[in-house]
């Protein structure tokens, strides 16, 4: 893909704009529930999702990607910052306005066993969002049948209860429910990571088909970099509550600029023995710091092979490296530069 401006996402108002979003969780202890600490799960995230676009959000556990998704949908209340949907404020919406906005933004959860009410038959589960928004029972039911069909299940299954279905089938049901209100944006929170390997591809393909059919925008949250690469147009890499790099898919995967992105990519095992034998892997030292005690300066510096004194003092701002490619690093790697070599040249 070239950097031809026509292939870049359309300008104008994005479907979703997230600005400086912060979500803190107080840590309480003791008899009086005194606040003894703060976990900053999301700390100042800014993102945009455009029409008919998939933004992949990747990161390891504790990076805040799931909290980000839920805060955008106001399933959690943001501490500060703003979320706007097509120019309208979500964070500032009144309850009745929020109800209306929910028509446009939906979510699919990771765990297909926890995300469906075990006491409701499948057709009712899918019809529920429509009933909430005032559809008649008959119309909602008819629409649910269409949706069951649209996600590749037999409409006969409508009377069955969730426990009868396998993980992949349940995930299809969850997707049908998310589609019921004809939203423009769906937040997919690790939608395939709980599924059997042989079933993941079915769901990925289904999501792609539905996106084309209904012109959907996706925020695809995942830890699996291969799946994200497959499905995303643009990708944001998160580390400890911050976006460290965001760019179009090709730039992220072919020219990763942040040391964390490079190490993450090099750690992903590839199902090819020859390739694996010849790979040079960057094995990061140490563990993920706890989100309750983030390092000063750059949050990645404790594990970064090229961190300097400056990194521990000054927090890097996210800045534009190339058209549509933003990085938060004092020493971003230029295209073709390898972290291993840079680290070696610096004598580490």
């Amino acid at each position: 893909m070239t950097n031809d401006p026509t292939t870049l996402p359309a300008h104008g108002d994005p479907v979703l704009r997230v600005e400086n979003l912060v979500k803190d969780f107080p840590i309480q202890a003791g008899f009086f529930r005194r606040q003894v600490g703060l976990v900053q799960a999301v700390s100042g995230v800014s993102l945009e999702i455009h029409e008919h676009e998939t933004l992949g959000v990747v990161g390891e556990s504790g990076c805040g990607k799931t909290t980000l998704g839920r805060t955008i949908l106001r399933l959690l209340d943001a501490t500060s910052g703003s979320v706007t949907y097509k120019g309208e404020s979500v964070t500032g919406a009144s309850n009745s306005r929020m109800r209306e906005l929910r028509r446009h933004m939906q979510i699919v959860f990771q765990d297909p066993f926890a995300s469906l009410n075990p006491r409701m038959p499948v057709r009712e589960i899918i019809a529920e969002p429509l009933r909430i928004h005032g559809e008649s029972r008959a119309a909602a039911s008819a629409r649910a049948n269409e949706l069951i069909d649209a996600v590749g299940l037999l409409s006969d299954y409508g009377n069955r209860y969730p426990h009868e279905f396998s993980g992949g089938q349940r995930q299809r049901i969850g997707i049908a429910r998310a589609l019921a209100l004809q939203p423009t944006l769906i937040i997919l929170d690790e939608p395939v990571s709980a599924l059997d390997v042989s079933v993941q591809a079915q769901v990925v393909n289904l999501l792609e088909d539905l996106q084309n059919e209904f012109k959907l925008s996706y925020m695809f949250i995942a830890h699996d970099l291969s799946v994200v690469r497959h499905i995303s147009d643009r990708v944001a890499v998160m580390y400890l509550g911050k976006v460290v790099e965001v760019a179009d898919r090709d730039s992220i995967y072919d020219r990763p600029s942040h040391p964390y992105t490079q190490s993450l990519l090099s750690a992903v095992p590839v199902a090819d023995p020859h390739a694996e034998r010849n790979r040079r892997r960057i094995v990061l030292e140490g563990d993920l710091p706890s989100p309750a005690a983030v390092p000063s300066g750059c949050r990645f510096r404790t594990r970064c092979p090229i961190a300097t004194e400056r990194c521990s003092v000054e927090e890097p701002e996210i800045r534009l490296m190339a058209e549509g490619h933003e990085v938060a690093c004092h020493f971003p790697l230029s295209p073709g530069e390898s972290l291993i070599e840079v680290a070696a040249a610096r004598g580490r």
Binding site: E60, S61, S166, G168, Q169, D196, V197, S198, V199, Q200, A201, Q202, V204, N205, E208, H223, L225, S226, V227, R229, H230, R249, D250, Y253, S263, L264, L265, S266, A267, V268, P269, V270, A271, D272, P273, H274, A275, E276, R281, V283, L284, D287, L288, R303
Partner: protein, 335 residues
């Protein structure tokens, strides 16, 4: 030819559940050679974990088990519990998926490793603790002297898994069984732990029986691979044979359904239709039959035998259409 470290011979494991009998493992046979990494790959319900647990005799107590598991010249299924305890840890050691539940939360990590040493070795307590610290160091835990005195909750996920590996190699076992050792870990930590397992193996010369669903992990570490589905071995051979010259529709389907970091972008995935079989109500005939694009009537009637493919007998596959497969694969490719 050398003696295998462990041989599974016609192993079958069934256990009763509230909803009926589950035949989790069906007539599984394979060997693990000394010093090699053998990976058992499969999805949920494939029987891979039950096979591994049976080797440690840690399968559910109500299980009915037939066949043989030969280790060190005897059948592990035929020996007494006392003798089996000596095998565990000393001969065969296990690394579990979730180190948080596998480590005792109220015991110091050092004490747990030292205990392993003491059970099987007649050394002083002090000596055992020193060994514990050495072991932690050998698996890359920094400041082992301080770390031995900590409790598991003070360790991060990756560090806990390292402590598990340290416990496992404490008595220089001949075989390490690792049940999804990296599944619960983040990618960057996963890379560290795999590295440690490789180093530990080189240091002790133990063979590894790796149970996993992750083909990427298998490609990185395994010498040989057994692919299981519906409780049966579907294919076995060297990593190269299974990855590059697979003679099984299920293995092929699995390979082409996973998105890969090095695949051309924008290519559509080719999924396997359907769902892994319900263990309580498995299909008649070939377990993969209902999902197989090549299946015909015979596939729904009976299951095929595991047959040798190629000339040296190292590559085996189970499929009714073994003879036609090269043509079928070629035809599917051009479609």
């Amino acid at each position: 030819m050398t003696e295998p470290v462990i041989s599974f011979d016609d192993l079958s494991v069934s256990f009763p559940t509230d909803d009926g009998m589950v035949r989790a493992v069906r007539n599984v046979s394979f060997d693990v050679e000394p010093g090699e990494v053998m990976a058992v790959v499969g999805e949920s319900g494939s029987g891979k974990s039950v096979t591994a647990l049976a080797a440690m005799r840690l399968h559910p107590g109500s299980a009915e088990i037939t066949g043989e598991i030969r280790f060190g010249g005897r059948d592990l299924l035929g020996i007494g519990e006392k003798e089996m305890r000596r095998v565990r840890g000393n001969g065969i050691a296990m690394i579990f998926q979730d180190p948080m539940t596998a480590l005792n939360p109220v015991m110091k990590v050092g004490a747990q490793i030292a205990e392993m040493v003491l059970i099987h070795d007649d050394v002083s307590k002090k000596e055992a603790w020193t060994r514990a610290a050495d072991l932690l160091e050998s698996v890359g835990v920094p400041e082992p002297g301080r770390r031995v005195k900590q409790y598991p909750h003070e360790f991060s996920g990756g560090m806990r898994q390292r402590a598990m590996i340290a416990m496992a190699i404490a008595n220089g076992p001949d075989l390490l069984i690792a049940d999804e050792p990296t599944t619960a870990l983040d990618v960057t930590i996963q890379a560290q732990v795999l590295e440690v397992m490789k180093t530990a193996q080189e240091a002790t010369g133990a063979a590894i029986l790796l149970i996993t669903h992750d083909l990427g992990v298998v490609a990185g570490i395994a010498d040989r691979v057994v692919v299981m589905y519906g409780g049966r071995v579907f294919e076995s051979g060297s990593a190269d044979q299974v990855f590059y010259r697979s003679q099984n529709p299920y293995t092929r389907g699995l390979m082409s359904s996973i998105p890969r970091l090095d695949a051309p972008k924008g290519e559509r995935l080719i999924p396997i239709p359907g769902t892994p079989p319900n263990v309580l109500n498995p299909p008649s005939g070939c377990a993969f039959g209902p999902r197989c694009t090549f299946a015909s009537d015979s596939c729904h009637e009976s299951h095929a035998e595991l047959m040798s493919v190629g000339f040296d007998g190292t590559h085996r596959s189970r499929c009714h259409k073994l003879a036609e497969l090269p043509d079928l694969f070629a035809a599917a490719e051009t479609r």
